[in-house]
Symmetry: C2
Subunit: 382 residues, 2 copies
């Protein structure tokens, strides 16, 4: 039975490679690309990082398998029903559209964003899927000229099911502190378009001791640490370079509860206060003008994809309020590898469990994190 | 007036380059080294990272100045009085003794550790310094053969003022998950020697976008992020490689509240649970056998050098108890750059303030973090 509309459970961190995107990647043979194995029973392989594209291995074992959970709206709805999710705000997974040819980037983005819009509209109009709503974060043609990016941002406001954009940490190729992004940030702020910031590249292998150290524990180091540390560095660079000073209305929703920003915000603040380069008399460069806490509590939202109570408590404390933290699942990543009870996903249950145990007596707080905040922040019609 | 002995304030994260160490570095001309400028009024320069040793700059402007706060016990006591610290557990700052010639490493370590022991003994016996106690974390000759390291660990137990050892993240050169460290870990565990783990190298510049990106904000990125992320990676590698499975009695005190381990522990746990390489049937390698929470609550202590309430709350929550988090200052780093009120150090006041505001009604908890835990964990005689 679907929960009553007053208690929505909204998943704001849930990825899809819709068919048009699968087809885009399948037509490529350099990273990122999808390899279709000759064995019709084998799943296609998704190769999205240079480090996945090891020429010493056959293509059929490079990267990771992409089964239909990545591309099927039916599978997404099945997952939503299983976990009592009433609304999913879907987004492309990495690497989004960062790799496109500048000339065709905008047209491709328009096509894929329109596809997402249509799929959401169709789902929400269908009586067959009553109780399951879909919205989307669109993707930007970041390799295109700035005016193309800006015009796509403006066009997205005409798509009623698009509630923001998802973006990686490279921006136009030089990171999110690139002054050339100012026109994009202005357009995002002016149109009240929230950016869901998500990592992709992790850290260089050297940061972990090199590829052989990484290989000893499968994907744990790049996934568990590389992803959140990439986000931490990207947001710190934005903050330190004054992006939030120049664009005080910019709104970012940070994946994985902000990487580690909630935990390190105090240390960042302290290092800024002790940085000779930033001190007014004799300081050579201008430091950030706003406190990092002010930015966290004005410009930033955090998802609750953190899998632990210490992290969630830090996220809530840094956000300054239970109103700025939003439930998510990271579906279809981290699927069950064994026979979890009732088929439920451990990755989802642990994040739900942490929200429950953090607020054992406060149902209102739990409801905000699980859905109320998403409805308010994204303006969802449920 | 000194606080009564029942309320000690113990600083477990406080560095010194004692005169013998200053002399060791001053006799070197490759990293790490101290440059004595020809101008007698100029402070010596400490050049401890390859990236500090820029041949395009004169030596007199490379690295950072080391004034007498780094080497003077009187300055340490002055700082302690200023901040109401009744006991300091001093340790060399990075890069400790990691760079020594293998042949002479042990003898040098013995000399420097004996110097620290003597300085503490002399201080504690002097009526002139009543109310100010000194203890030390010694340094190990990690470049020496393993048997030399082990014998120094055993010898340190005969020095009554040495209460543990400080160590960086490189171990014998290959990181803390190096199987060659097992003999060292066994000796540490058998002798109940706690390891104060401290970062030094940070992350490769590429992780931040390269040297030119770093330079835009002085030392903020390497210090605010590089240090804690280095610790995070080092401890994760230890955990993933089973160090705490093989050495269940090993005790580590982590600098900067564990880098970001308290925040990311849940994500690490989740990635381990979803790692195909680790899953028993068909898993290629053995994953860690103990839960990361068990390790955090059995083998790990955290300092409270975190400068923010979200971080301290996560540290306390991950530690599972107020008994495993210990006050520290990071003196003489982060000195005041301006005219703070009463000359007090902002970096110290912010950490003290966070402890206060986290436990406004719980004086017992504050006292534990500020000193009681250190007295119990390190066996201090105050």
């Amino acid at each position: 039975m679907a929960p009553p509309p007053s208690d929505p459970v909204v998943d704001i961190h849930t990825h899809m490679y819709p068919p048009s995107y699968i087809s885009l990647l399948s037509n490529r043979s350099t990273v990122p690309y999808i390899h279709q194995p000759s064995d019709p029973k084998a799943d296609p392989r998704l190769i999205i990082l240079d480090s996945d594209d090891d020429p010493a291995r056959p293509r059929s074992s490079r990267g990771r398998p992409v089964d239909s959970t990545y591309s099927s709206f039916d599978k997404k709805r099945e997952f939503m029903r299983l976990h009592g999710i009433t609304c999913s705000v879907i987004s492309l997974a990495n690497p989004w559209l960062d790799f496109l040819d500048p000339e065709s980037a905008r047209a491709t983005a328009v096509g894929i964003n329109d596809d997402l819009e249509s799929a959401c509209a169709e789902n929400n109009a269908s009586s067959q899927h009553a109780g399951l709503k879909l919205y989307a974060f669109a993707s930007l043609p970041l390799s295109a000229p700035a005016e193309d990016i800006v015009s796509e941002i403006q066009r997205l406001k005409t798509l009623p099911h698009v509630k923001g954009v998802i973006m990686g940490t490279t921006g136009l190729g030089k990171g999110l502190d690139d002054p050339a992004l100012d026109a994009v940030y202005s357009a995002l702020a002016t149109t009240n378009t929230i950016v869901f910031l998500h990592p992709h590249y992790g850290l260089p292998a050297e940061a972990f001791g090199g590829p052989s150290v990484i290989a000893r524990s499968g994907h744990v180091l790049p996934l568990a640490l590389g992803f959140p540390l990439e986000t931490t560095i990207a947001v710190s660079r934005m903050y330190l370079s004054g992006v939030f000073d120049r664009h005080p209305k910019l709104e970012f929703l940070l994946a994985h509860s902000g990487g580690t920003i909630p935990f390190l915000a105090g240390r960042i603040e302290s290092c800024v206060a002790h940085e000779r380069e930033f001190i007014a008399n004799g300081g050579k460069t201008q430091g950030p003008q706003r406190s990092i806490w002010d930015v966290l509590q004005t410009n930033i939202y955090l998802d609750a994809v953190i899998y632990g109570q210490p992290g969630l408590k830090a996220a809530l404390e840094a956000a300054g309020s239970v109103d700025r933290v939003l439930f998510g699942t990271d579906h279809p990543f981290f699927p069950p590898l064994g026979d979890e009870e009732g088929g439920k996903w451990l990755s989802v249950e642990s994040n739900k469990g942490v929200i429950r145990s953090s607020f054992p007596q406060d149902e209102a707080a739990r409801k905000k994190i699980l859905g109320g905040n998403a409805v308010r922040v994204l303006g969802l019609d449920l």
